[in-house]
Subunit: 278 residues, 2 copies
């Protein structure tokens, strides 16, 4: 029945956003790099009627595809789960695998309540994330330094070293107030931190980037400009490395790592207290 | 050994960011709402030495806490896993539970390669996410409508209905180019869409919010202002609902749902093709 050379359909079935199901399934599937997968997301499966529609979609795919579909499910409602379990797919049931052992270990019945994750389960934590996003936008790119006293972290680096996306990720995912300040060539001319940053030295975290990568990114923005030239990128990356060393600013090289990895490293290196992922 | 009334320490152990481990563990723990958990994140456990340090941290907690710690692990390296398995904790090993059954089902050995998730595994997909974040910032709050032709979606709604965080989430998580345009009272005065938006009608998605919620959020921003007053919030929310109905704009009420839920609903309702979560 299963044809290994063909594309294998994968469904992520969830009663809410499906983000947990998809993260989890993706982390597993990346371990099978020789197989091609075709991803389908089926979020908000929170009634038996929607479960039956989802089951039809899965069965239709099973009948028209050379490969049996895989289903990653984070459904909690028992009636919905039974409907999906009855499809012609190979089911990987997240709750089935862990909830029973956890009930035994914790000596408590689980609530079997759907969608407690990735919703507004804690209004206060949720609003702090939205506030943090607004803070990051107001304190992006050195627009203002007036609120730096309220920042959890202030990222510094040359233009296009990844400061803005990292700040927004720190805010959105972790509710951290992350500001950022771009260091220009003239800011770095005397080899010291700009005066505006000196009172907040313990909140500063530096992003390095190598000259080749910076050149590529700047070229996408302003092609053939002095700003994007290799010579300018080499100059600025050299200057900022000296500055971080001299001022003893903790830093990371962002050239080949993702925003998620940069953000996690910052929290770890700066020992920032953050709330659990909600 | 286990004291049910005390706080139970939980460790999320990962060879990369730990985001998958924490999402997964959190989704499970929300099912046990009567138990208090204390979260600890141990990311970047990618050498045996770091695994031994992590194991010491876990064992120290086990010895000083009235409750045995829980460990959620997404470690892949066998040597690191053995070190964590030997701690005095109850281990929930994500890969152990699913990788073997998947290897059998897929008739393929898994690569056992660490950190393929939440890194830059696909440079093109990663850069499209960063580009999308930049697009959303440039096209936030109606700053400019020149690039609307390149947008995947344009969110419309009254001020403070959740447009900006939703756009940034769509960009960051899914690499979608999301613009947003705030509708003021005068924009809505004639009951039709502003002219600037009319050419892009098929890309528009509306965010509704109820007057009470809007009033609360605006009060946090500009206390005791006309802008934040209940009367103004009632007026604008009534006007925008009529506008969406008249112009047949697909929409959702954002009052009590999270950015993740709003974003997922938009993708579903607008049938937007998005890449898999990387």
């Amino acid at each position: 029945m299963t044809n290994l050379s063909a594309v294998r359909p994968v469904f992520f079935v969830s009663d809410r956003t499906g983000i947990t199901a998809e993260n989890l399934g993706h982390a597993l599937l990346t371990q099978f790099s020789t197989i091609k997968f075709e991803h389908h997301s089926l979020p908000f499966i929170n009634t038996e009627e929607k479960a039956r529609i989802a089951a039809n979609t899965i069965n239709l795919k099973a009948q028209t595809s050379p490969c049996q579909p895989l289903v990653f499910s984070t459904l909690i409602d028992d009636a919905c789960r039974r409907i999906i379990d009855d499809t012609q797919a190979h089911i990987i049931d997240f709750f089935d695998a862990f909830i029973k052992p956890l009930e035994i270990e914790l000596r408590t019945q689980s609530s079997h309540a759907a969608g407690l994750s990735h919703g507004i389960s804690n209004e206060h934590v949720y609003m702090s994330r939205i506030d943090a996003v607004n803070f990051s936008l107001k304190n992006d790119d050195g627009i203002s330094t007036k609120e730096y006293k309220d920042a959890d972290v202030i990222l510094i680096g040359v233009s296009r070293s990844g400061k803005t996306p990292t700040c927004l990720y720190l805010a959105m995912q972790f509710g951290l107030r992350a500001a950022n300040y771009p260091l220009t060539e003239s800011d770095m001319a005397n080899g010291r931190l700009p005066e505006a940053l000196q009172p907040y030295k313990d909140k500063l975290f530096g992003l390095l980037i190598n000259a080749e990568r910076l050149h590529t990114i700047r070229e996408m923005r302003k092609q053939n400009s002095g700003y994007a030239s290799m010579a300018q990128c080499q100059k600025e990356t050299r200057m900022i490395r000296s500055l971080f060393d001299l001022e003893k600013i903790p830093h990371i090289d962002s050239s080949h790592i993702s925003v998620e990895e940069i953000a996690t490293s910052i929290i770890q290196q700066m020992k920032i207290h953050r709330p659990p992922i909600y």
